[in-house]
Structures are given as C-alpha cells and as structure tokens.
Symmetry: C2
Subunit: 445 residues, 2 copies
C-alpha cells in the first residue's frame, strides 16, 4: 500500500528514522514529508531525495499543522513530549495513525476509545528507552512463560553513554539527546516494587540510591530508579509480580557527583539568580556555600560531606564550577546555568562514538528452582552524527511505520509496543541494523 | 469621614481585625461588611452587631465580587495570596483602596502606576511577618540613622510558636495559621546577603542551615532563612548594606526534624501515592525507607544519619509516622498526607496560648565603634480563639484602615509599610493592644 509519511521534527534524534524512511520509500511506495520549525534542518536531512519533501512548520500554528497532517496517512511526531497531545487530537479528527518515542501521558491514553473507534493505531514509547526495552523485555518474559517459568522479579536498566575510547571526561557522559531532559529529568518521585513492598524515592535522594549492574565483558555500571516502574506491571502482564524496577545506567561515580549538584541547589529551576549575567561561576558557588573559613571548594566539600580532593569534587571542578569566569547569561536560574555549562562541557566531538547499554534481569521459578535470565545489549555509534542513540530511537519507529503501511498491525487504540505482532517483526528487522542481545541463565540461591 | 469597609475572608486570622473594625465602627462611622464562602463563618464573627453585615461570597464569581467591592470604600483581602490579584484589579477599576497581610507579588507591584494615577493606596505585607517586622525595623533603623549611625548589618527573625505552658509536644509547635502554608511554605530557594556575599539556600538544605537566636529572659531559638531577604535592601533604604537576613524562628530541634521530613520525601506534592487510602503510615514509611534488614524506623534513621533513639526520630515517632494505622485518604500526595497528620497532631487545644517572638539585630557604626541594637518582641495569646497571631496579623490592617478613612495617609500606589506616616501611628496604637519591644545596645568586637 503506498503511503504518505509525515515526520514532524528534524532534530538530533531524527537522522536514522528519516534515512530509513527515504531508503524504503521506493520499495514501499512512500512519500516522506519532513517538517521542522527550522527549514534548513529538514532540508539537510532530506537532501534532494526524489521521494522526500522538506517543509517548514510552526507546530503551534493549528491550521498549518492540520493541513500537513491532513495530507499524510501516518504521522511520526518527534516533538517534545508536551506537544504530542495536540498532534494526537488532529490525528483523531483527520483519521491518521500516530507514532512517537515519548512516554504515553494519561491524556494520550484517554484518546484510546476514539482511536479504536476510528480503527487507528497510536503507538507511543516506540524508541529505545522507552521502546526497545519494552519489546525485548516482552520477548524474554513470554519465552520464559512459555517454558512454564513463573516470573518473580523483573529489573531493566538502560543507559545512553559514551564509548570507552571516546570517554575523555571524569563523568563518563556526553550529550547524545536533549540536554534539558538530562538536567530536569524526573524531578518527581520515582516508584518501584521490591519484594511486594512499594518503594518511593524523592528526587532529593534519587542519585543517592543506586544499584550496581555488571555487564559481562563490558564493565560495571550504576543504576538509579527511572520514574514510575509500577506502570509496567499491568502493561507487561505481570500484575502479581513482587519486584519490578526500571533504572537508568551510568558509569560508576556519576550518581554521587550528580547528587552533589542537586544538593548544592544547581538543578533548581524555580527562581532566576540575582545579577546572573554579572557574576562568575566562583561567585555562584560562593552563594551556595555555607559561610566560614576556607576556600569555596573546601566549604562546598564540607557541606556535601565529601573529600575535597576526592572523585565528587574532581567532577565538579572539571565542569568549571569554581572558575572565576563570568556566567554571562542574564536572568538565569541555576538549572539554566548548569544546562548551558553542561552543553559546553559534555559536547559530543565530531569523531566521538556513543554507547548504548541495556540489561534485563528476569528472575523466575521453574520446577521448584529459582533462575535469573540476564540479557545484555550494547551498541556503539560511528560518530557524532551516526549515533547508536539515533539508530535505536529512530529505527523502531521507522519499522513500525512500515508494518502499518503494509497492513501488518491489527491492534487499534493507544498502545506501547508490548504486543507480539509488534515486537517480533521490529526486533527481527532491528537485527539487520546490528541489534543483538546476549542471553545467559544462572541459578539463584 | 464615614466609610464602608469590606473584609473578604472570615477565617482563622480574621477575628481580631473584624473585632477591631466593629468596635471602631460607631466612633468612625464605619459600616463593616464581612464576606466569606462559608456564610456561617462571617455570621459568627459579626454576630448581631448593628454596623456589621455578614455576606456570602464565592470570590471566583467575578460579578458578585465586583458588586460587593463596588459598594465599599476600603477593601481588606484576607484571601489566599494567589487570589489577591483579581481583587486588586477590581479595586483599580472601581477606585477602591486595598489592604492585605500577604507578600506583595511582582504582578501586584505592576499595578503601582495605575493605583497612583487614581490616588489609591494598595498596602500589602501589613500583618505580622510580613508587617510588624517591617514597621518596627524601620523605626529602629531610622532612629539609628538619625543619631548618625551607619548601618552595617540587619537581621530580623520572627516565629509564631506555642507558649511554654501550652507546649506539650516535642516539636514545640502547633498550628496558629494556615496549615498548608506550613507544609509547602518556601519550597523555593532562599537568598540573603552575608558580608557583601550573595547566599542561596535551596529548599533541600533550608532546614539544615540554621542560626541560634537568644532572647534575653525568654529563651533560645533557632532560625532558618525566610525567602528572599534581598528584596528588603531597597525597601528599607539599605541598598549598600553588606549583610541582610530575614529568618523564621522555631524552638531548637524543630529544623533538624523538619529536614528529616523533607529528606524522607514527605513534603513532596508532585504525585499521589498508589493506593493511599488502603495503606498504613507504617507502610508509607516502608515505601520511603531503603531496603535492608532492621525495622523501618531503624532504616529511616540510618538513611537520615541520625540516632534511632535520638531527638529527630522521637519527633517523627510522636507524629505517628510509624503507626500501623490506615491513612484513609484517597489519591493523596505525601504532602497532603503529612498536612492532614500535622493538622491532627499540631492542633491548638481550646485553652492553648500561642506565642509570637520577634528579634531585630541592627549592627551599626557610630563614632568609629561598632554596636548591635537588639529589639525583642514577645506576645502571648489568651486561648485558641484569641491568639497573639490573630491580633498581630489583624490589628495593623484595622489601624491602617482607620488611617485611610481619616485621610491620614498621603502615599498612593502599591506599598509595604516602611513609611513613617504609616509605621508611627500603627505602632503607637498597637502599644494599646500590648505590643512592646525591649531594646538593648551592646558594643561589638
């Protein structure tokens, strides 16, 4: 079935998706429109592909947006999460399928009946995390169930990091996706379930509560809890599971240093700093430091309860927080100052390779014995343009668009990719793009 | 000049103000309308006073509100702070004076020119803290300036506490004003100035950063920083002062225990607890506690880094946080659960006396020597109805209404009570109601 595909958003994570759609366009009879508020961004990705069509779109202009959506069959929204709802409402009205990589909000779930009544599929969480994590987890969970295993615990960890050969900073981290999300991500309370006990972690303790995760042949990581793990009990069909936890992976030491930024107050976005354009980073740190004798750095270390010459302080110093250099951003909140600083310090160099790591741990009982099934995924990017992040976020959406356009999806309504008719073909095709999990089962106890 | 006074809000802090207005009504020719969303609240305060008129008002109903305001000359708003702006806009449109005890917002200040053009006075921060603190501070500051002193530091601390004879709980605290404000107060970042250095304290450290305040003949207190002290440099005419700090007073030990509630996550209002109506307080604490061996109480103590049998834990236990009693509030956030619990545990008994304490420390240089001028205020209430809080919040507004109605105020625009024409007569009349500061000057160094 020929199809008109509309991709809204041509930013950082769109490259692999747009490339996939253009590559498949002849074979599948697709016309691919790429819309962005920055006309050159869309043009740069589409280039002069005969089946590609870059257009300018201010997504807040309702009429322009609706006109574009009206001329498509399948819409992929790469917009910031809070803008999906308006696109989704247009898709209901104009009877178009919708695909996104963002978390599905309560508001979006509420459109489920309307989508179903119009025989539409709205697929959210169709990227990497959330996305490939759901699909690969469901595959493992269903395999274990089919051999008669009773699942006792599910833990899943994902990280978008920097490959060891490109890791030239003490944080082991550079930006491979939206920087603002890194600074402000999950300032709410995380929740998970441990041995049938509900667990809450408020943001002020999130980076103090970490799990060690070892990946054989790759290395050691640390994980902190990712949002609301409880939502996935029902989604994964694990309603009576006693332990469920989703976490985010970082190289060891990241969390303790980030906890220091939180405790100092640098992640607060609630008020602009007085005279922020005039003061230096050093003066900013002085403002957050307790009064007393000693250098600002020593007083910050003392307040944090860490060694002034230890790893946490080394990371803060490396960021340039104690430099006598002017901040030069007028009317800025601490969070904005931190974001701009990190944008500079955690910038991906053109030749840098990123690294995606994922681990699922599924504990299950079979014939009276307890086992742990461990699946590991790693993927490296080629450089700052062709990142593993862009591939693993974008390709699942592209493949899912193919499945819709080939009438291979029977589900309708608002979903995340936990159905077999979705995860099997998507993971199968992803293998062609290098997606490979290693599996291992170890006895527990 | 006879005047029609409209008091909007007949809640907890309105008693002394309404009583003052009714008592003065014959002498001054006032008619006093008291409006509230709860018709019995207004009627109970006005009783059958011949010059009093209780009315029912849903303040969100614009037409009803405007009609009432249109029939008044002077409006006193005791509404929650976020509702003042609409009343203020009505007062601009209908040419009425306005008095409130709340902090003046940026939005309210922006009405200054319009108020001035209409020869109206909008007086905010006309209660106790803010209010009497501003007036008494300005009086001291101006006295010191007039004798030639150069002011080097200003620190001001206020607390609404419970009198020692009614203090029967380990927190030394009961509710004498809006409970929600106590739980959610100042979740932003506090700022002050110390030796010409700007200082920030984010909420997550606010209760860990305290100052000892001794009041001669009364006792020892601890203070934590109150919002943005810097705003008052200009307001007090202290633009070049190197040190300025406003703080909130509590009995010693309160801040460390409140810091524990913050760290646990109980002041977070961002998400509702799963099944909050079904779980117990003990299960709630289990959800916030780290996993591991030992009782929930021991694990919470360990996480907080405090003695499991020490003062902090004793305060948490006394609140009932470890009881196996159901919470029974559906869809509640931790902050709401805490607020309801505190409402019960920190309830003022009918015979309880409250205690207001205030201390200003003004450091100044005179003839080459450095001095500290210390002013102390204390006032006790009679019982849970006739509180010192209600008097000290309400009477300044009542007296200021008198000054307006007697044409004794020449200022127009949006103000806080730092002008001599305001603070002198208000403090003078307040003395009749028992307001008395003690003063002492000590040499420094």
């Amino acid at each position: 079935m020929p199809a008109r595909i509309l991709i809204i958003g041509a930013g950082r994570s769109s490259s692999a998706l747009i490339q996939y759609a253009l590559n498949k366009s002849s074979e599948l009879g697709w016309n691919v429109t790429v819309a962005d508020a920055d006309p050159s961004a869309a043009a740069n990705k589409v280039k002069d592909h005969p089946r590609g069509n870059p257009v300018w779109l201010d997504v807040m202009k309702t009429n322009d947006r609706r006109e574009l959506i009206g001329r498509a069959d399948i819409v992929v929204s790469l917009l910031p999460a809070h803008l999906h709802l308006e696109v989704a409402q247009d898709c209901i009205r104009l009877k178009k399928h919708l695909v996104t990589a963002s978390y599905v909000s309560h508001e979006l779930y509420r459109l489920g009946d309307e989508a179903r009544n119009r025989e539409l599929i709205f697929m959210g969480e169709m990227g990497l995390d959330p996305g490939i994590d759901h699909m690969s987890a469901m595959q493992r969970i269903n395999e274990i169930r089919e051999k008669g295993g009773k699942i006792k615990a599910f833990r899943s960890f994902t990280g978008g990091l920097i490959a060891p050969e490109s890791n030239d900073n003490p944080w082991g981290y550079k930006f491979t996706w939206n920087p603002r999300n890194v600074v402000l991500a999950g300032q709410g309370t995380a929740q998970y379930l441990n041995n049938d006990k509900l667990k809450f972690i408020p943001y002020q303790r999130l980076f103090k509560t970490t799990w060690d995760v070892h990946m054989e042949g790759i290395g050691d990581f640390e994980a902190y809890a990712n949002r609301d793990s409880l939502l996935y009990r029902e989604q994964y069909g694990l309603d009576d599971i006693p332990t469920i936890l989703r976490g985010t992976l970082r190289y060891p030491g990241f969390a303790a240093a980030w906890a220091a930024l939180v405790r100092i107050g640098l992640t607060n976005g609630d008020f602009p700093i007085l005279d922020s354009e005039k003061i230096t980073y050093h003066e900013l740190m002085e403002a957050f430091a307790p009064a007393g004798p000693g250098s600002v750095k020593d007083r910050i270390a003392q307040m944090l309860g860490v060694d002034p010459n230890g790893d946490v302080m080394a990371r803060l110093v490396w960021l340039g927080l104690f430099r006598k250099k002017k901040i030069k951003i007028p009317n800025a909140t601490p969070a904005l100052i931190l974001e701009r600083l990190l944008l500079d310090r955690w910038k991906l160099n053109p030749q840098d390779k990123d690294l995606i790591v994922m681990q699922h741990q599924v504990d299950y009982k079979l014939d009276g014995k307890l086992y742990r099934d461990i699946s590991n995924l790693t993927m490296k990017g080629n450089d700052a343009e062709d990142t593993a992040m862009s591939r693993l976020v974008g390709l699942p959406m592209g493949i899912f668009v193919r499945l819709i356009s080939q009438n291979k999806i029977s589900s309708t309504g608002v979903h995340i990719p936990t159905m077999r008719e979705v995860y099997e073909p998507v993971l199968e095709e992803m293998a062609e793009y290098g997606l490979a999990f290693t599996h291992k089962t170890v006895p527990l106890e």
